[in-house]
Each structure stands twice: as structure tokens, then as C-alpha cells.
């Protein structure tokens, strides 16, 4: 029998056999598919970006590189309270878990809020998704990421409301994926 395997009896006395934790494996597989989703968006962006004679195209507003740098830092810093939350969940420290998760969520929400504000400003400058490929790729790529942050925040909210620490490790994987992806997108879309 493989090391670390778990043999259990369920409520009706049936034997069950688990080699590894299913939730962790399932999340890893799901994140593999998510990675390919973003690979698709990024590939589309790069096709347009690399074949364009000038980028950004003339007469288009510039992206807010500086403000977004700050919100990037905010999002990245959420990695620390998330790590604390994982430890608290492991140690059964409910109070610490709640505080760390709340802080994680606040940092994520701040990032999203700044993005929303910047989008509103860009729209008033005339950068819309239909205004051209520049706007189109910007809003789909950055928007796809923003939706992922939003989904993560919703999940986090549910964990906090239900006060159920069982899902925290798997949530942590998802959070780190969403946070870790951002610097790449920031570099590609804002800096490069």
C-alpha cells in the first residue's frame, strides 16, 4: 500500500481508500485548465501587439502605469495574510484565521476598487472595448483577471460567513494563482 494512504470506514462501515487529498489534486488540475485559458487570452493579445506597427496605437489614451503599480503592490502584499490564514487554519486558530482572511479580502477588494476607478476614467477618455484592438484586448485580458479576483473574493466571503476552515487550503491555492498571475499581466499589458 502506498505511503500516506488512508483507509477509512464510513458511517455505514464500508471501507474507503484514499491515496492523496482529493481537493488539493482537483484544484491543481482545475488551475491547469485556468492557466490555459489565460494562455489563450495572452496569445491573442500578443498576436495583435507584435504585429502592430506602433503600440499603443496613435491617439489612444495611455494606461495608468503608476497607479496600477501601487495597486499591484497591494495585491501582492495580500499574499502574506493569506499565508497567515493557511497557518491559522492548520493550527485550528479560528480567531487568527478570520482576521487574516479578512485582511486578505480587504487588500484584494482595494485592488479591484482601484481597477474599477481606473476603468471608469479610461472610458471617459474614450478607450472602450469596441474603440479598437487596443481597448478590446485591454478590457478582455484585464477583465478576465478582474473577474477571477471577484470570484475569489466571493468564495472568501462564503468561507467567512460559513466559518468553515475546511476549504481554506484549497482556497489558498486559488488565491495564489490569481495573485501570481497579475504581475505577468501587468508587465505585458502596462509595461512592455
Amino acid at each position: 500500500m502506498s505511503r500516506g494512504a488512508i483507509v477509512l470506514e464510513d458511517e455505514v462501515g464500508f471501507q474507503r481508500h484514499h491515496r492523496v487529498d482529493s481537493a488539493t489534486v482537483g484544484m491543481l488540475i482545475f488551475l491547469g485548465a485556468e492557466t490555459m485559458l489565460f494562455a489563450g487570452f495572452i496569445a491573442a493579445f500578443l498576436v495583435f501587439r507584435l504585429t502592430a506597427p506602433v503600440w499603443p496605437p496613435p491617439l489612444q489614451p495611455r494606461l495608468p502605469v503608476g497607479v496600477t503599480a501601487v495597486s499591484t503592490a497591494v495585491l501582492l502584499s495580500s499574499g502574506y495574510p493569506m499565508w497567515r490564514a493557511l497557518r491559522a487554519a492548520r493550527d485550528g486558530d479560528h480567531g487568527g484565521l478570520g482576521r487574516s482572511l479578512t485582511l486578505t479580502g480587504l487588500l484584494g477588494a482595494t485592488f479591484l476598487g482601484v481597477q474599477g476607478y481606473e476603468w471608469a476614467r479610461l472610458l471617459t477618455f474614450g478607450l472602450t472595448a469596441p474603440s479598437g484592438i487596443y481597448g478590446g484586448t485591454f478590457y478582455t485580458l484585464i477583465g478576465a483577471h478582474a473577474l477571477h479576483v471577484l470570484a475569489a473574493l466571493a468564495w472568501l466571503g462564503i468561507i467567512l460567513i460559513l466559518r468553515n476552515p475546511a476549504g481554506v487550503p484549497v482556497f489558498g491555492m486559488y488565491w495564489y494563482f490569481v495573485v501570481g498571475l497579475w504581475p505577468l499581466l501587468y508587465t505585458l499589458v502596462y509595461l512592455a
Partner: protein, 570 residues
């Protein structure tokens, strides 16, 4: 590890009596979910088959109305082609080969009581049912169903003015999105289950080959669908809010869709092919009473083919206007990918070599698959090399090619599996004579329908045309279309013995024993049909590989995976 133990204890407690709804509709039992996928797939097969019949009638006698349908104009014909292709690939092949067999076989063959996430599994089939509903509704809305081809190329798919189809196209995209969500949930379940829930002794290299094939197919799907979803989001945005991703006039690029589509599309044809190959690989040794030939090399070949399938996609685009310098590398990878499949075909034939072959119905279908798929594989070599393909691209030669591969997989591979596992699924035996009649009729009329299409394709008949008689050079060849259409009608009629067989068996068939074929794999150690949670209190333990037939160590000519031989335990 302690905490995961706690999670594990979330158990559906009672497997005794559950009501009608919990048993047949909102079931978390992988076997019932498999049957639900099977039923939905069979329903769509009827629809897809009828659409094909309308198309074929139109092609043979373009000037007459189709009985029961009416006049078919070019617009309607486009709807027929599109919906037939969409339905057959996404709503028949995938739910039956991956959905039904994946769900039914994976837990049973690895010794699990159910999938790793049973409720997610139930959600999967329900989301698929919703996708089916959306697709069905799209036939009945103003403007009608999608008509931009099953590949949905823009600009045709991006602007309603080009096809006259408005909502139908949006619903087509929505149905795909739901379907992908369903198979994403299913796929996460399949892989997790196979990694986490194998019983003691069931190492990866003792897994039955069908499991390997199902898992590889699932992996291909999970890793290729993302870019298509990204592409579909952009297509939807083009249609709804007027972005220009695929519109050349707005700086977009219609070829981008083709790249994203076929990056998914080629792995997708293996999502259909590999499970069929797996079903056949598990049927052949049972009826040859011999171990499979080259077990590990089949696995390595499968993985190699899976990897290569991500770098062949532009062979669908040789005539698309992409950079012609791409043609050479993609021809080369395409020829390369035929090597592992050639090996697998060789291993199938070598498994038969000097076997004591029994020609039961499942075996006939498996052999039919091997023979027919080789035809499709050989024509694939022509399509794959750019110089030949530039001539035959978008002709009926290609239509013949992909029906020899897809039809073989879905119908021959699918029926091999269906006739083989039916006793386990439903606890009844099927009639052998009816099964054999079904097989021979299907084999003959499949070839009558599709073989001549090679010829008319080489004569220049383009695919997706509604009236071949409009082209003078095709008029002398019209008799071929008539032959194919008559063959197609008889092919559809050949499915009647199948329906009779299943209905008769379910109502009055003989009860199936545990192991009617003398097979080795774990599902045959459970009762037929297996109860909820599959085995009683204890799980089987695995001591050997899946293919020890005619072993000298035992008197019988099979040696189940859970049998331990006291003297020489391994």
C-alpha cells in the same frame, strides 16, 4: 493528512433505499450519471442522424422537397451542416465516449466507490442537460439555429447580416460554454478520482488501457479548451458589443479564431478517438484470450500522440491564407503523429495474432473499428501533407476521411464498448444474433455511404454545398451522391435491430452473471449491475495487470486482477 481524513468522512450515508428522484434524476452515483450521459447522447444521435438524412436527400435529389421536411435552400442547408457537425461532435461523441464510459468505467475499474466529487459530478450532467436544452431551443427561435459551420469561422459567425442567423449563433456559443463547463467538472473528477482513489495494488501500470485512454483524453480536453473559451469570449464580444477581434476592417484578424479553434480542435478529435481506442483495446484481449501486445508501449504512444496533438493544429489551415512557411512544420508534425497511432493499430493486430478468437458481438465491433479506422488513418496522411491537401481541402474527400475516423470511433468503438459492458450496466444480456445483424448491416452500409465520397471528392465536389447539380462538372458524378444517400438511409435503418435488442433485453433479457465474458478487470468482480458504492463492505485488492489471459498459472483462461496466487505472490 488528518484534516483530509475529516473531509473524506463526508459520506452519502444511506445506500439502501433512495426515492425515484434521488435514484434516477438527482443521483450522485457515477453509474447513473454515466447512464444519463448515455441517454442524452443517444437522443442527440437520433437528431444528428435525422439532420444527416435531410442533408443526404438534398444532395441526391436537390430539386425535390425532402419528405417530412420540405424544400431545403442554401440557408437551411448551412443550418443542417452546422448543427449536424456540432451535435455529432459535442453532443453525441463526447457525452457517450467520454461522459458515459468515463463515468461508468473509471471508478469501477480502479476500485473506487464513486467519483472523488460526486456532487460536482451530478452538477456536470445537469449543466450538460442545460446545454442540450439551449441547443434544442436554438432550432425554434426567429432566425433559426447557427449556420456558420461546426467550426464557427468568423466573419460568418461574427455578424448576423452574413447568415441571417442572430440569436441562434449566440445560443450556439452559450450551449458550447455550458457543455465545456460540464466536461470541465467531469474532467477534474476523472483525473482526481484516478489519482486519489485507486485501491491498494492498482498502480498506474496495472490500470486497464481504457482508463489510460480516458485519462489522456480528459487531459487533452482540459489543456486545450482554455484557448477556445478565450476565443469564444472574444467572438461573443464581437457579436454583442461590437469589438473587432475578428473583423479585419477594425484591425482584427479572422485567422486568430481559426488558430484558437484548431488549437482546441485537433486535441478534441483525440478526445473522441482515444476513448474509442481504449474501449477497443480492452475488448480485443478478452475475445482473443491473449494478453494485450505492448501494454507499456501503447501507453507511451498514447502520451506521445497526446503531446503532439498540441502542435499539429494548423494542418486544418493550409488553404486559409496563413503564412505559407508554416505549412512545412505542421505537415511534419502531422506525419509524426501518425507514428504512435500506427503503433497502437499494430499492437491491436498483434494482440489477435495466434489468439483463440471468439467472434462475439463486442469483438465484431472492435474488429470493425480497427478495419475502418485504418482507412480513415490512411486518408489522413493525404490531408496532412500540404501539397495534397491544397487540392483536397474542403472537398468530400475530407468529408469521407473524417467520417471514417469519427464514425468509426463513435459508432464502431462505441458499440464495442456498449455491447461489452451492457451486461454490467443493466444486469441483462443482449441477444447475440440481433447484435450480429446490427453489426454487419452497419458495416456494409457505412461503407456504401461513405466510401464513394472519396471518389466524388477527388472529382472536385466541395463540402458544404447545397446543390451539386449547380456545378456542371459534378453532374456526371451525381450517381455517386445517389448511392451514398441510399446507403445512408439503409445505414440509419440498420440501427433498428439495435433498438429492438436493447428494449427486448431490458424487458425480458436473461439476467447477466457477474462476469459473462470471463474478463479480468475489477468491474467484473462487482455484481451486475453493481449496487450503489459498487462493492460491499470491503474493497477488492489488486495483485496483477489487467491482461493475464490464458496464463499457465491457472486452469481457467483468465486471471482476474484481484486474484492472489498463494505460491508465487508478486
Amino acid at each position: 493528512m488528518r484534516e483530509s481524513g475529516a473531509a473524506v468522512l463526508d459520506v452519502h450515508a444511506h445506500h439502501a433505499e433512495r426515492g425515484f428522484w434521488r435514484t434516477y434524476v438527482f443521483s450522485t452515483d457515477h453509474k447513473m450519471i454515466g447512464k444519463q450521459y448515455l441517454s442524452l447522447g443517444l437522443f442527440w444521435a437520433v437528431v444528428g442522424g435525422l439532420l444527416a438524412h435531410v442533408m443526404r436527400w438534398q444532395l441526391a435529389w436537390p430539386e425535390t422537397a425532402v419528405p417530412g421536411w420540405g424544400e431545403v435552400g442554401p440557408e437551411t442547408y448551412n443550418v443542417l451542416v452546422t448543427m449536424h457537425g456540432t451535435i455529432m461532435v459535442f453532443f453525441v461523441a463526447m457525452p457517450i465516449l467520454l461522459g458515459a464510459f468515463g463515468n461508468f468505467l473509471i471508478p469501477l475499474m480502479i476500485g473506487a466507490r464513486d467519483m472523488a466529487f460526486p456532487r460536482l459530478n451530478m452538477l456536470s450532467v445537469w449543466v450538460f442537460a442545460l446545454a442540450s436544452l439551449v441547443l434544442l431551443v436554438s432550432f425554434f427561435i426567429p432566425g433559426g439555429a447557427a449556420s456558420a459551420g461546426w467550426t464557427g469561422y468568423p466573419p460568418l459567425s461574427a455578424k448576423a447580416e452574413y447568415t441571417g442567423v442572430n440569436w441562434g449563433m449566440d445560443l450556439w456559443i452559450l450551449a458550447h460554454a455550458l457543455e465545456f463547463a460540464a466536461f470541465l467538472m467531469g474532467g477534474v473528477n476523472y483525473l482526481t478520482t484516478a489519482i486519489a482513489l485507486r485501491v491498494p495494488g492498482m498502480t498506474f501500470f496495472r490500470l486497464p488501457l481504457v482508463i489510460w485512454q480516458l485519462l489522456t483524453a480528459t487531459t487533452l480536453f482540459l489543456l486545450s479548451v482554455g484557448p477556445l473559451i478565450a476565443g469564444a469570449v472574444m467572438l461573443l464580444l464581437d457579436r454583442i458589443i461590437g469589438t473587432h477581434f475578428y473583423a479585419a476592417e477594425g484591425g482584427g484578424d479572422p485567422l486568430l479564431w481559426q488558430h484558437l479553434f484548431w488549437f482546441f480542435g485537433h486535441p478534441e478529435v483525440y478526445v473522441i478517438l482515444l476513448p474509442a481506442v481504449g474501449l477497443v483495446l480492452d475488448v480485443l484481449p478478452v475475445f482473443a484470450r491473449k494478453p494485450i501486445f505492448g501494454y507499456r508501449w501503447i501507453i507511451y504512444s498514447t502520451i506521445a500522440a497526446g503531446g503532439l496533438s498540441f502542435i499539429v493544429w494548423a494542418h486544418h489551415m493550409f488553404v486559409s491564407g496563413m503564412d505559407p512557411r508554416l505549412a512545412m512544420p505542421f505537415s511534419i508534425t502531422t506525419i509524426l503523429i501518425s507514428v504512435p497511432f500506427a503503433f497502437i493499430m499494430f499492437a491491436m493486430i498483434a494482440t489477435l495474432w495466434k489468439g483463440s478468437i471468439r467472434f462475439d458481438t463486442p469483438m465484431l465491433w472492435a474488429l470493425g473499428f480497427v478495419a475502418m479506422f485504418i482507412v480513415g488513418g490512411l486518408t489522413g496522411i493525404f490531408n496532412g501533407s500540404a501539397p495534397a491537401d491544397i487540392y483536397i481541402s474542403d472537398t468530400y474527400f475530407v468529408v469521407a476521411h473524417f467520417h471514417y475516423t469519427l464514425f468509426s470511433s463513435v459508432v464502431f468503438g462505441g458499440f464495442a464498448g456498449f455491447y461489452f459492458w451492457f451486461p454490467k450496466m443493466f444486469g441483462r444480456l443482449l441477444s447475440e444474433p440481433l447484435g450480429k445483424i446490427h453489426f454487419w448491416l452497419t458495416l456494409v452500409f457505412f461503407n456504401v455511404t461513405f466510401f464513394p465520397l472519396h471518389n466524388i471528392g477527388l472529382a472536385g465536389m466541395m463540402r458544404r454545398i447545397a446543390n451539386p447539380l449547380e456545378y456542371e462538372f459534378l453532374v456526371p458524378h451525381q450517381w455517386i451522391n445517389v448511392v451514398a444517400t441510399v446507403g445512408g438511409m439503409l445505414l440509419l435503418a440498420s440501427q433498428i435491430p439495435f433498438v429492438v435488442n436493447v428494449v427486448w433485453s431490458l424487458l425480458a433479457g436473461k439476467t447477466a452473471p457477474k462476469n459473462p465474458w470471463g474478463a479480468n478487470t475489477l468491474e467484473w468482480t462487482a455484481p451486475s449491475p453493481p449496487p450503489h458504492l459498487n462493492w460491499g463492505e470491503t474493497l477488492p485488492v489488486v495483485y496483477r495487470g489487467a491482461y493475464e489471459y490464458s496464463s499457465p498459472e491457472v486452469a481457467e483462461d483468465w486471471l482476474p486482477q484481484d486474484r492472489t496466487l498463494a505460491a508465487r505472490s508478486r
